[in-house]
Symmetry: C2
Subunit: 320 residues, 2 copies
């Protein structure tokens, strides 16, 4: 990653695509439209029948999945090439019945519910022995790849461990073999000592602008206590995570005028035990720059905003 200080940019320098909820099309995720999605696999519903109104959160299979749960995994060769069929699951967690909600406008309790739902869906899907990794991510706003504007998070359960996950865990393993310590635990200690890149510090989490961030205003949410698997997080920490994520979303809205953003949950493959060398965390970044030929060709990213400056802007942003 390249921090390009010749191009250093403050929040106001980015040519942003502000996320505005238009509500001008029929929305299958709104309350009252429950029959327009596949039947729910999970709901938090204080009252009422399944697949009817009364819910505060709903998880449903994606109507246009990238992968399906049916079928066995088949691997076959085609000359030089290998192929396997796309067994897996693709689910959508709708965090609110209200079309106008965002993570920043919802209460911390409702944002925590998203993470309780993620935990529950991972636990349920883990029972399928074909599945190896649950990738959880959010695309907020069209600029960040959302095709429906109603707030939702996606879970794709895969029959293989994705390359990026494999590489990250392998890197952490090499660090551990050398030093006998978790690299993320070491980062937490060093960031607390340095302080310049810390954005939020709570009982359960540290939020930092990571050293050598790939993207301007990128944040990592790190649980303070070592833990390889997200889905074993205790309830009190999940409650705290709701506040943390809501606060970052609100700080983004305030500092960067409601930018599109993505987050990705980085956790351990479901068949692995409690690894000492890997530490689950969430990476979140606003979509302020375009990925173009340079990034495609190099896997390097040019970041015009040093993380220390991004951290200061986000620390000082006080949403209501």
């Amino acid at each position: 990653m390249i921090i390009s200080t010749d191009r250093a940019r403050r929040p106001s320098d980015f040519n942003r695509q502000q996320v505005r909820i238009k509500g001008d099309r029929f929305c299958p995720f709104c309350a009252g439209h429950e029959t327009k999605t596949p039947p729910e696999v999970l709901a938090f519903r204080p009252a009422g029948q399944p697949n009817s109104p009364g819910w505060t959160l709903r998880a449903v299979p994606n109507k246009f999945p990238a992968l399906r749960v049916e079928g066995d995994i088949e691997r076959q060769g085609e000359g030089l090439y290998d192929r396997m069929n796309g067994v897996g699951a693709h689910e959508v967690i709708i965090e609110s019945p209200d079309h106008n909600d965002t993570l920043a406008s919802m209460s911390e309790v409702r944002v925590a519910d998203l993470f309780f739902a993620v935990r529950d869906r991972i636990n349920d899907l883990a029972r399928d022995p074909r599945l190896r990794y649950m990738l959880v991510f959010k695309n907020h706003g069209e600029g960040a790849g959302a095709t429906l504007e109603h707030t939702h998070t996606q879970l794709i359960a895969l029959p293989i461990v994705p390359k990026r996950v494999h590489e990250e865990i392998a890197g952490a393993r090499r660090y551990y073999e050398f030093r006998d310590r978790c690299v993320y635990c070491d980062i937490i200690q060093q960031e607390i000592a340095t302080a310049t890149r810390v954005i939020i510090s709570t009982e359960h989490f540290l939020v930092i602008a990571p050293y050598a961030s790939s993207f301007p205003f990128e944040c990592w949410i790190l649980p303070r206590r070592h833990s390889a698997h997200f889905h074993t997080t205790p309830p009190e920490a999940i409650h705290n995570l709701g506040w943390v994520v809501r606060t970052i979303a609100a700080k983004y809205d305030k500092t960067l005028e409601s930018p599109p953003y993505n987050f990705v949950l980085h956790t351990t493959p479901i068949r692995e035990g409690e690894l000492e060398h890997y530490h689950w965390h969430i990476e979140i970044a606003p979509k302020l720059t375009r990925v173009a030929g340079f990034e495609w060709g190099s896997s390097f990213f040019i970041n015009p905003t040093p993380p220390e400056e991004a951290a200061q802007f986000l620390r000082e942003a006080n949403p209501d």
Copy 2:
């Protein structure tokens, strides 16, 4: 990479950002504005003085570089982290003095000139012993990351070999160690035999929609004769490359209504010899889909258009 046939999409299904040249701002790349760029490092100019009109192609340092050539490479630690300063070069090759030109509208001779200029700049920069890799790429259209609309290609010379390049060459080396053959030479043979993914076939090049393409309508331009380094390509092949690249650009414009696109030259690090296991090539892809949370978290890409279908559309597109 995931080919998602549930989402199979024909050219007309993509929500495209058509590239239209507006010409509504002052352009430092236009003929007559030569003093608005840093002095040229190369020009093809049938008549006239340096840094004045009369040129057909000009290469200049980027005014806002991601990296600079000044200074020594310094590496230092910061606690856990490593940093090195950004020594390197960032140049722009302006392929036409005419603001309205694109690779598709220019003559094949002028497009070939781009690749002669790339060859010459690589040879010149190779004399700087600090530089290890020359990354050449084009961002066509704002949707593909171009910040100036006047046609140009970029060259970033780096003091390290980028991760993506390193991985690709390492993968090719493993294949070679196992089979004693270049994987790209094998791909060329298999694609000619299969035929379904071939788009263009000339004396010097094969253009295919690669098996398991990451992006819809992605193409690879492969030189038929094994060669590790682009900059040793003989002139007759570079002339032919001008026709090939112009034709693909025109086929994209015809099939996909002038989409934004990127291309990246994949070549061997400059300090390496003539590797038997690596084969230079160009990867080119229109920007039709957004990279979102899933791709960020997994390094997998969901491609809604099987390469066999993309190849058929592009083969059948007959630009004037």
